[in-house]
């Protein structure tokens, strides 16, 4: 079955490459809507990599939350703030050369660091299967408190976001 494995590997690396391309699209494209679509592609691609890492549940959550919800939100805001078919304005500021230099430095340094570090990869860990049930049990058991905190934060942010974004009814300026 090596061939199948080879196919998989090729598939994964190809996905990675595609994701990187789309990521570049996210940061570099001028049309913000396209950026958002690229981001959606990146997210879906990442979800596929999750599947490759045997984290199917997480992949589903990623798609559900990011693609289904967050992206919709982003696109909504883009639609509300961008003028339809407006002129393509300059989308990057003047510090882009400095940023490229700095970031490439970081990438190089960190990359070498990553490659050099002897990661304690264990076979036991590699073989471990994570079922949805065990995830759920951990979430409701060990991590119950953070889980609840998160839910509170979610509610708070939801309400906060609505409050911030809502039009102030009382102050009706001269139209």
């Amino acid at each position: 079955m090596e061939i199948l494995e080879l196919f998989s590997k090729i598939g994964i690396y190809a996905t990675m490459a595609l994701v990187l391309v789309f990521a570049l699209g996210v940061v570099a494209l001028r049309n913000l809507f396209h950026c958002a679509l690229c981001l959606a592609a990146v997210l879906i691609g990442t979800a596929m990599i999750y599947v490759a890492l045997h984290a199917e549940f997480l992949a589903a959550v990623q798609i559900l939350v990011y693609v289904g919800a967050v992206m919709t939100l982003v696109i909504f805001v883009i639609m509300l703030t961008e003028h339809l078919g407006g002129k393509t304005i300059r989308q990057t500021n003047r510090q882009s050369p400095a940023a490229i230099i700095g970031l490439s430095g970081i990438v190089v340094l960190l990359g070498t660091l990553l490659m050099k570090t002897p990661w304690p990869v264990t076979a036991k860990a590699l073989d471990a299967k994570v079922s949805v049930m065990s995830l759920g049990k951990a979430l409701m058991g060990t991590y119950a408190f953070p889980f609840e905190v998160i839910s509170v934060i979610l509610i708070a942010c939801l309400i906060g976001a609505i409050v911030i974004a809502k039009k102030d009814v009382s102050e009706k300026g001269p139209s």
């Binding site: 199948l4 798609i63 289904g68």
Partner: protein
Amino acid sequence: MSMPPFLRDIEFAVDLSLVNAKGWCLDLLGHFLPDWTVVLASIVISGVAILALGPLVMMYLTLLERKVIGRIQNRYGPNRVGKWGLLQPIADGIKMFTKEDIVPAQADKIVHFLAPVVIVVPALMVFLVVPFGERMTAVNLNIGLLYFIAVSSITTIPIFMGSWASRNKYSLLGGMRTAAQMISYEIPMTLSVVPVIMMSQSLSTNTIVMTQVGDLDLHWFIFTPWGLVGFLIYFLCAVAECNRPPFDLPEAESELVAGFHTEYSGMKFALFYMAEYMNAFTLCGIATTLFLGGWQGPFFPSWLWFFGKTFALICVMIWFRGTLPRFRVDQLMGFAWKFLLPLTLINIPVAALWFFVPERLAWLYSIAIFAVSFWGLVKLNCAFVPEKRIYPLAD
């Protein structure tokens, strides 16, 4: 009830005929091809089957819809092309293929092109986890249900793409309405499924069907109070999810021409249409799986049962379309957020109650809770009627 053994054998044979056919093919290939090709072939066979099934289903759904609507409106419906108009979809398909593909001048060409293509993908992908029959699930994912929900939620993005790229105000408005509506109804839909997951303790669609096993003493979830309520909510949400009447706001002809696909024609339009019908089919299929016992059923082959139930649900959808007027936007959103969502939230504890309390008592409790909460929700919703709108320009 017992059945003569030979009948059972026959039934099994018929039931598994499709599965067996695939297995026979793979066996045949296995003799003279490497192992990995067999795997690939298996995938390919399933894929092809699904890819063929999708459009087929779509085509005949259109026919079904037109026929049923016709009957509801006291006319015949298509009856010229082929016997009972059976070839009508094919004719339509040919017409679509041969139509001119119009792209607006100001449109974002790439996205405009991509949108209908992309929209078909999730619609087809969800077929993977639908259990069409016994051992007839394409991929038996252990998170099948979540997969279904996740993938179907992608649908909003191509709609956005289409509406944005068209550079048309109707398209844009339609797209935004669609997105809002789909996001809103996705939440009660997901939550209405939760009791089922709780009861079957699995996300796998197969397991869910298996927990509803019963010979004639139907163990379908719809025959429990929470299941019934969950099913009703799920089904209403499903109708809204695939933008069908009475929730067809995004495509409201009287207001928005045709919503997000105003600027599409020809095959691109057909793709949108196809995605919509396939979505309707899968949503009904999942409804069948979750609440109506999936492919469970006596005498007939399991896939026949599945399709039978699914088409029955689709007929209900069509019935809706034929009889119900369209919602207003604020009513639509209010219905999701102020009525369905609280009701699903009540449904979950009721299901938990069902789990822990003896059955008869649980019936009593559940019915009481539902009655009270239904009444309360209706009252509350009545209490917060938005003030009457005034249309100054209408006079």
